[in-house]
Symmetry: C2
Subunit: 446 residues, 2 copies
């Protein structure tokens, strides 16, 4: 089964909003055995939306739209859908009652604009938007009127569907999880659509250039069956190697390929993961959290340039309180001395961005919070503050345990943006932590 | 001038990567007076890419592609572009020398796969990718062979362009800024394309439902000239109201409309901003930073449930060291008592998620870091840890100054995800901070 997503809203096309909905939906659709063929972002413009819907329905079995369902004048998706599906708006009592219940503690949110939310297209099936006022609408496009070249072709044709979802991520996610995916599952059963298992496995690596890795595994790659696709995804100094199958290979087939691959790249591998721990940055934080929990060790951080982002990565997972104790963000030097106990002499002699300072920061927070591990960062995130000796992008990181402390200097490049430099530093801090924990040791090696 | 973006890569359509490139590019294009018409995400698939390019070039004057330019087998964009533009690959000495210079300290990154990177399409203009190995390629599609209905139409027709960019955000951004935008500017001059000024202004509001706001400003909205578009963007409990003009209204026209609007909604407005402080979360952190700097006051945070994210928001801007001193992430209760001085009795009597605990946390970190302001957060981010009294989504926040401390309890909803609850808490903390600073006061009012 093939799907497409149309995201609707000027805000996407002027860069005011990053579309995070599509990636989340793509992952859920893949889990349900549905291939996402294309994502198209269009303006809040009648003709543009009509064209995009028509084209998407010509290619896909099911089309999702997000956005444009609010009560204000700039939101036109519902009316355009009525036009496309030759239907008109009628009052829906269930939706009205739902909206009254939703806003029972905020009566000022019920007014004549809100009332437009319980007008729904007559021909659409309405699913409940538990946490919002815009109803989820399912439209069916019957293909029975088309001419088919053969009986086989006729039998293989089904209705096509369009499902209109709100653009607010929180509402979209709950609607997809609670209403839309179960609804599609049922439809797939009724229409007897075979569910092809889409499988993705990702191997996270660091410490090798992409081209070198490709040469290293060239023979293995050449021997891969056509049903298993391989992709290289470099990011933040790491590479994700992804194996995908779209219904033609089993989990066991893919595992067998991974088993053959690992001996070739063993020392560079940080983890092999299922799609559930897919999303960008969370790979490393999920992995670090799992390992800390397994090993039963606690951790704290002392951060200057990463400014709380390393802490956030370590407590991003539910249950983090089992291993993550806390952090000191020591942005100002007085916090480094007063709270973490970094000596004034160290700061005067070597500066805040130095091996000795990060060592003292790591050891200081480890003592302060009584943890097994501690990580400290200090660097120049820029764009200001760089010098010839210590250009923007210079970051010192220290890892401390009861057995001692190790520190490393990174150069993430003056051309990078502030946010990228800090995220690279978080990545580097986690990568080495994971290597230490993977080695089954609690102490660090220089 | 009308542009489209085609993002190429299976990772986008299986949800492994969120497309942040397009929003960034959209903003830059708008600044350059170029309207982005559509964004299309397609698979690493020859036919899919060919079709997408052809369709996009039929609608737009300039098409950008991102992704698929790596040296590994899964990246096919360059070869597909050769096919589409009827050209073939030739060795390019400048690109080769550039790549050797780029990797001079990492010789293992130069190998026979890297060597494919200096093979470039013969008919393309090559722009330098300063920080990566994939060359930026500009293709020109001559329209001279088409039939035109009139001399006017012929005169108005120009060549169309396709510019292929790498998908790695860091490389794409530097290429766009340093090479592509200046190149387009030059082409627009040569082709005498008039640059229409695209203007966006955003008003950030909180404390009013979207539908009520729309009714409040209904008459003003009805009187807006057709050349000024209004959009409502609700997010994280706030509303962004955006006024946009695509080359037909001046900055002064838009300012005049804002001047008429503000008296109607004055008490709900947090800020009126230019597009430069557009991007999602950064609105509030930019604004808070500016106000703290203007007022010459310093700030620290003590965080439990927000886990460093409030700190990160406060130090996200360059120059943050002028006002942001540091933070204590007190995840574990021992950190709350030992580092922040929260009394054990308070924790025992009221619990970690309580008014008294956040008050003591805020006052504790303010004393510890000698700041004018301090903010503390403690809540249940879930999905575990909720109780009947304090369900998931309950967050206490305190704001402390020399004049006293105020605390407020928020309920962000048990249905929300962990990350959303923490980000809502960061938002709420910043919103009240901004209100206090906007009022020109350093002390807080209950």
């Amino acid at each position: 089964m093939r799907a497409e997503i149309i995201t609707i809203g000027d805000e996407l096309l002027i860069g005011q909003v990053v579309d995070t909905n599509s990636a989340w939906m793509a992952e859920r659709l893949n889990e349900a055995g549905i291939t996402l063929h294309q994502i198209t972002s269009v303006h809040d413009d009648r003709e543009h939306i009509l064209t995009a819907i028509d084209e998407a329905l010509s290619r896909a079995d099911i089309v999702f739209t997000t956005g444009g369902l609010g009560p204000t004048k700039d939101d036109i998706t519902k009316n355009v859908l009525c036009e496309y599906f030759h239907t008109s708006l009628v009052e829906n009592v269930q939706v009205r009652e739902h909206i009254y219940a939703l806003y029972k503690e905020r009566p000022e949110a019920i007014n004549r604009l809100t009332a437009t939310q319980w007008l729904v297209p007559e021909s659409a099936t309405i699913l409940t938007n538990r946490v919002g006022s815009a109803p989820i609408m399912v439209f069916e496009k019957y293909l029975g009127v088309q001419e088919f070249r053969s009986a086989e072709e006729f039998k293989s044709q089904k209705s096509k569907y369009l499902i209109a979802l709100p653009g607010v991520p929180h509402e979209m996610k709950i609607a997809m999880t609670e209403q839309v995916l179960p609804y599609i599952g049922l439809k797939m059963q009724v229409d007897r659509i075979e569910k092809g298992d889409i499988i993705h496995r990702t191997i996270l690596l660091s410490g090798v250039p992409e081209s070198k890795l490709a040469i290293l595994i060239e023979d293995w790659e050449a021997a891969l069956p056509a049903s298993i696709h391989l992709a290289y995804l470099p990011k933040d100094g790491m590479i994700r190697l992804r194996l995908s199958s779209y219904g033609e290979s089993s989990k066991e087939d893919i595992q067998a390929q991974i088993d053959t691959l690992l001996p070739l790249i063993g020392d560079k591998v940080l983890s092999v993961s299922d799609p559930s721990d897919f999303s960008d940055m969370s790979d490393l934080s999920v992995l670090a959290g799992q390992l800390l929990k397994q090993r039963g060790v606690t951790i704290a951080t002392a951060e200057s340039c990463t400014g709380g982002r390393l802490a956030a990565a370590l407590n991003a997972q539910s249950g983090a309180s089992a291993y993550y104790m806390g952090s000191v963000v020591a942005y100002d030097n007085t916090v480094k001395t007063n709270v973490l106990g970094v000596s004034q002499e160290t700061l005067n002699t070597f500066g805040a961005v130095s091996e000795y300072t990060v060592r003292e920061m790591a050891e200081g927070v480890r003592a302060l919070m009584h943890t097994d591990f501690a990580i400290a960062t200090s660097g120049i995130a820029g764009p200001l503050g760089g010098t010839e000796d210590k250009p923007v992008g210079t970051v010192w990181i220290a890892w401390a345990t009861a057995d001692g402390t190790v520190a490393e200097c990174f150069h993430f490049g003056a051309a990078r943006e502030r946010e990228q430099i800090t995220m690279r530093a978080v990545t580097a801090a986690l990568v080495r932590l994971i290597r230490i924990l993977n080695a089954g040791k609690y102490h660090v090696e220089a």
